[in-house]
Amino acid sequence: MIANQIMFFLLSAMIIVFSVLTVTSRKILRAAVYLLLVLVSTSGLYFMLNYQFLAAIQLTLYAGGIVVLIIFSILLTSHISQKFEPTGWKKSLLSALASAAGAILAITTILDFKFGASREAAMEVDMHAIGKSLLSLDYDGYILPFEVISILLLAAMIAGIVIAKKGGPADQESQNLKQ
């Protein structure tokens, strides 16, 4: 029991702290690393909630994929040691206020609500169940989103290509720019 809670608080502390660091760090690569840590800690939470599959996905896709993508783009666009100028205090303050207001609103409202405990028997979330559900055509089946998301990914890929594609007058221009 206690171990649970300690585990949870540890993870949450990590999440909060690293989140804050992510958004405040003045070195961009460090921020990326903090983000990675947040994502990893989150996957820890998923483990705690017994969603091993998702935790794994979180680690591979999120932490492994997106963060790497981000780091690559950082490398393409900035110097590693580049330090940002601190954000203007006005902007920080306003942003902080807005966020704080939002957080207070959300938290008070959440605390206000009485969550009833589940009466149904818990479902065993193993790979089999996930796979079955994912490919099911019936109620609680996710084949359609699964298919549609493939279109999404394809579209995103093409979208990326469209923007990144070289050739045509555009390229010439950008080369001129470099010179």
């Binding site: 019936d138 989103p145 549609v148 279109i151 469209v162 045509g168």
Partner: protein, 474 residues
């Protein structure tokens, strides 16, 4: 999967097939003949559009409630198809330009995939489908907004759109998570049964609404609109202002009517507040615009405000009038954008000042522009008048006279700035007017469709009656 289900899903399926066909064509076709891709795509899309109208059995629930098709949703999809078809035809000239010619098929694929997303969104029976549809309808658009990658503005539009839309989907998802937590399901029909309106639910709803409002560019979630519209290529701007917005409004009205009737008072208040803000702010900003795209952006914001007015009653007339108005709006706004596109393609000019004296050199374009703007302003006998009339009637039916009053007063402000453009074209003198040019066939036919739509949609009461018959509400 029976044939029946295939027919029910024919919009999405055909679109997907068409997109894949184009993709294949892109890969296999001889580079010298790639010009024909436009033609092929448009023909394909026209087939899809026509297929959408075929009178097969339209209603049904598939995938255990994941996908719901009703008469209304089919109607909405058809309306969107019409709009997209016009936009595609309008794009041809632009795509023929050298700098775009290497990405023609991508353009079509992205547009079609976007449309697939919208169709799924409209037919969603589950918030997951809704969400994926929403994203599918957004992400490619961001890329399209950044399509002219050699232009700063285009890139800026792209980044603004993608970042803000991600934030808004974050907010929307947060809201959805609350809805999920308080109702235990994300199926529409189950959510609607467990929605008594706890505070947390309202919170979730408002956050969800904010996410939707972003798509519709409702004040105060609208600020991206003008910049993105200005920066994006004209065709994408018209796509954003008409199709994206229209689809979002469709799904919003379905969700409000079908899922959240139990908290109607809350969403009425929400819409009341936001619609007043939207109309007023949109108009106030539009008054001073110099760039015609930016101008139309703000105009489209205020139009969204009027549409919200129609929605506020939660009545059947409201839904009918909103759908009808979107149809009218498609023709009107695309008419205006069609002229802007033609001029932008021919001369690259996009400022209202450049339009000074346009009537002397290009009378037909000016007339079409004027008709389109008047239709947007709600001047009879153009379709916009009927559209606005029904929208406001719908609100008045539920006693929102005050809102209607504000709305009609706002239409006066909007008339003012539409007239500014008309004035520029017809009255202002210009030493260096846009030279006379003849648009190519696609542009002309697209404009013709729009003008015909502007006239016919209003007079032919059967269209409205049809929509009314399919709509629901209390």
């Amino acid at each position: 999967m029976s044939l029946q289900s295939l027919l029910i899903m024919r919009h999405e399926l055909l679109l997907a097939v068409a997109a894949i066909f184009i993709l294949t064509a892109e890969i296999f076709i001889d580079p010298a003949r790639k010009k024909n891709i436009s033609l092929i795509s448009i023909v394909l899309f026209a087939i899809v559009t026509i297929a959408g109208f075929l009178p097969f059995k339209l209603t049904g629930t598939l995938f255990g409630g994941m996908y719901v098709s009703s008469n209304v949703s089919t109607l909405m999809k058809n309306i969107l198809n019409i709009g997209v078809l016009i936009i595609l035809i309008q794009s041809v000239t632009w795509l023929r330009k050298d700098e775009n010619s290497d990405r023609v098929s991508e353009y079509f694929i992205l547009i079609m995939s976007t449309l697939i997303g919208m169709d799924f969104m409209i037919s969603a029976g589950h918030f997951l489908m809704f969400y994926i549809g929403l994203e599918l309808a957004t992400i490619p658009v961001a890329a399209l907004a950044a399509f002219e990658r050699y232009k700063n503005k285009s890139a800026e539009a792209g980044i603004k759109l993608i970042l803000i839309s991600s934030l808004s989907s974050g907010v929307l998802l947060y809201g959805l998570s609350m809805i999920y937590g308080t109702t235990g399901s994300l199926y529409f029909f189950e959510v609607s049964q467990h929605f008594p309106g706890f505070n947390l639910q309202i919170l979730g709803f408002i956050f969800f609404f904010a996410g939707m409002a972003f798509k519709i560019s409702i004040v105060p979630f609208h600020l991206w609109t003008a910049d993105v519209y200005e920066g994006a290529p004209v065709n994408i701007t018209s796509f954003l202002s008409v199709i994206s917005k229209g689809a979002a409004i469709f799904i919003l009205i379905i969700i409000l009517y079908a899922i959240f009737p139990s908290i109607m008072e809350t969403w009425q208040k929400t819409i009341l507040v936001t619609s007043i803000l939207t109309m007023t702010i949109g108009n106030l900003f539009a008054i001073r615009q110099q760039n015609i795209k930016r101008f139309l952006a703000f105009s489209s914001i205020s139009q969204a405000g009027y549409i919200l007015v129609g929605m506020v009653g939660g009545n059947q007339l409201g839904m009918a009038s909103v759908i009808y108005y979107i149809l009218v709006y498609i023709f009107s706004n695309l008419g205006a954008f069609g002229v802007v596109t033609a001029i932008s393609n021919a001369t690259g000019k996009e400022n209202i000042d450049d339009y000074n004296g346009l009537y002397k050199t290009n009378p037909k374009l000016s007339l079409i522009m004027m008709l389109a703007l008047f239709s947007l302003a709600g001047i009879p006998p153009l379709a916009g008048f009927f559209g606005k009339f029904f929208l406001f009637t719908a609100a008045a039916e539920k006693g929102f006279y005050f809102l209607v009053l504000i709305a009609v007063i706002n239409t006066i402000i909007s008339l003012y700035y539409y007239l500014l453009v008309v004035k520029a074209m017809f009255i202002n003198k210009n030493d260096d007017p846009i030279v006379n040019f003849r648009s190519d066939f696609p542009t002309r036919s697209a404009l013709l469709i729009c003008v015909a739509g502007i006239f016919v949609t209003g007079f032919a009461s059967i269209i409205f009656e049809l929509i009314k018959g399919l709509s629901f509400g209390n």
